[in-house]
């Protein structure tokens, strides 16, 4: 076997032939990966990002015992990087475990902000208004039509007027599409397990609250439902069981089926406008829609201080938070409740999520987690963007702040709830 001698002066290319011969001569059994020594298992696991490490660890007993426990139960709070949209990394906070971890690189996230999230996927848009769906765990990506195709009147003009009002704006940094996205795109929801050839998305956008949809094969956004006015508009939208549930400012729920060529719609919960109190509720509260696995609908109401009402018709002793429920199969009307059925609700720009409290050991009762983002001037006179994740315990009527952050980056995207999925 002298021919297999490789001296230090022989380069790798000349040894290929010899290697092949050696390979043929050497018969051995397949290596057993489970016999990797613990230090090598740990070494490999440390090269993996947290979600991948979770999968790696769960492979077999040896690996499970070698790798330190990684507690990252979902939902995760996706926290945008402080570098704003220039970064390609993002930080997650596993809510039940109160564990922060960074997941990067996700090059696709660079230059975009998150405008929606559902079942493992994120909806992202850049400042050119390109839109796509991205699964940050599998890196699968689906391109949607640009927001430029949204049905809207004088889109850019609208923003022009908006900007001219504000003297502090640096005109050179004036970027109408970015402003449109940041101010007028409320959220984007989409069907579960989207693929390039099978997906439907609906966005809530515009000055008041319009809906537009798109689906696989379409190259534009089409208006869904009636165009909004200042008295009639949409406040929230969610996807559940192949339908898009859309909540109007009068608390009516319309279920759109977009699977066929033409959208069909059914009213599944009636408006709240049977008396003055109901009408005031509609005006005084910001509304979010959620749906349990069994199809029961919940509406979470958060009081907003909006001095648009004449004093005489203000609610007496108004509650800050309320939840109404309706079961479209039995009853078309909303009814107040303080029971989420041992579940907790996560609302935001994401498709709202209801999670069983059994999976959330941090919680005592039925809670609603929601996100407050606002700009405020700090003590040293610097304007800051503050983002707070608050929760409200429906039964005990307790409330607190779960997570808060401040940044001098005023255009930072808000945090968003995310549930990981490999599909």
């Amino acid at each position: 076997m002298e021919n297999a001698n490789i001296s230090s002066t022989v380069t790798s290319t000349t040894s290929r032939e010899e290697e092949r011969q050696v390979e043929e001569e050497t018969t051995r059994k397949r290596p057993d990966w489970t016999l990797l020594p613990p230090d090598l298992i740990i070494k490999i696991s440390e090269e993996l990002s947290i979600p991948n490490r979770v999968c790696f660890r769960a492979t077999c007993k040896t690996w499970y015992n070698a790798v330190l426990p990684i507690a990252v139960p979902s939902p995760w709070l996706l926290i945008p990087d402080d570098e704003s949209e220039q970064s390609h990394s993002c930080t997650f906070l596993s809510l039940p475990a109160a564990h922060f971890f960074t997941y990067s690189p996700i090059p696709e996230l660079r230059g975009t902000r998150c405008i929606g999230s559902h079942a493992g996927w994120l909806a992202i848009s850049n400042t050119q208004l390109d839109v796509s769906l991205l699964n940050p765990l599998t890196m699968s990506r689906i391109h949607l039509p640009s927001f430029i195709t949204l049905p809207t009147d004088d889109l850019i003009l609208e923003i022009d007027v908006f900007w001219m009002d504000d003297e502090l704006i640096d005109v050179s940094a004036y970027n109408p599409p970015k402003v449109f996205r940041d101010r007028f795109i409320d959220k984007l929801v989409f069907s579960s397990k989207p693929t390039i050839h099978n997906h439907i998305a609906v966005t809530l956008y515009g000055t008041y609250g319009d809906l537009a949809y798109t689906k696989a094969g379409k190259d534009e956004w089409l208006l869904l439902g009636a165009a909004s006015t200042k008295d009639h508009y949409y406040e929230d939208v969610m996807f559940h069981d192949d339908k898009f549930y859309c909540l109007t400012n009068e608390s009516q729920v319309q279920a759109f089926d977009l699977s066929a060529d033409c959208p069909t719609v059914a009213i599944v919960v009636q408006s709240l406008k049977h008396n003055i109190r109901a009408s005031i509720i509609n005006l005084t509260y910001k509304k979010c829609l959620a749906c349990s696995r069994t199809g029961e609908l919940f509406m979470f109401l958060r009081r907003i201080n909006q001095p648009v009402l004449p004093l005489i018709i203000e609610l007496r002793d108004p509650k800050d938070f309320m939840v109404l429920r309706a079961n479209p199969e039995t009853n078309l009307c909303w009814a107040a409740t303080n029971d989420l059925g041992s579940m907790s609700l996560f609302v935001g720009a994401n498709n709202s999520i209801l999670i069983s409290n059994e999976d959330l050991p941090i919680l005592q009762g039925d809670c609603i987690f929601f996100i407050d983002t606002y700009t405020a001037v700090s003590s040293n006179d610097i304007e800051q963007l503050t983002c707070k994740v608050r929760w409200f315990d429906l039964k005990e009527e307790r409330r607190d702040i779960y997570y808060a952050s401040s940044s001098s980056q005023l255009d930072l995207a808000s945090v968003i709830w995310f549930t990981p999925s490999l599909k």
Binding site: R28, T34, N52, C55, T59, K61, G120, L422
Partner: protein, 166 residues
């Protein structure tokens, strides 16, 4: 190359690495010193070109695997000073670990045994890259690993991270 090192064809110190399947790899000291294990060993026993030290290796390091390790060590002993500089070296590293998974495992073992930390980094990273974004079942399939958890244990693990099993 460091000062004082003679030309390869001159009387430079050499060492012979002998694999279990009987093959011998003659390498210079700069190459051998890339390995922490060999460096330690040779600092005690010494070696020369006329009478090079022969170091037998365990059976897990076959000649094919050792060939890879030697290739890495030779290239890195020369460093980034060669034509192409660091960029070429990085590309070399990348291409070196483009291996099938069984070979990757063996080279990982060898890099650990011979204590070549940066090669171990490379192979660990390559293993990690290969299984990136795989579900638990896919990772099992990839490595040919059969789950040895009891039904109960598997249930607990699944409840910890249901998404990882999709």
């Amino acid at each position: 190359m460091s000062e004082g090192t003679k030309e390869p064809d001159g009387g430079e110190e050499k060492v012979v690495l002998k694999t279990h399947d009987g093959q011998e790899f003659t390498v210079d000291m700069a190459t051998a010193n890339q390995s922490g294990t060999l460096k330690n060993l040779l600092s005690e026993v010494g070696s020369s070109s006329n009478n090079p030290q022969v170091i037998p290796l365990p059976s897990s390091i076959t000649s094919r695997v050792l060939g890879k390790v030697v290739e890495y060590c030779q290239r890195h002993a020369a460093g980034g000073g060669r034509r192409g500089g660091m960029q070429a070296l990085e590309q070399f590293d990348e291409e070196l670990v483009e291996l099938d998974k069984d070979m990757l495992l063996d080279v990982t073992y060898a890099a650990a045994f011979l204590d070549v930390p940066r090669l171990l980094d490379l192979t660990s990273q390559a293993v990690a890259d290969a299984i990136k974004n795989m579900s638990v079942e896919e990772v099992r399939h990839y490595f040919g690993v059969v789950s040895d958890f009891t039904e109960e244990e598997e249930k607990v693990i699944r409840s910890e991270c249901p998404w990882a099993f999709e």
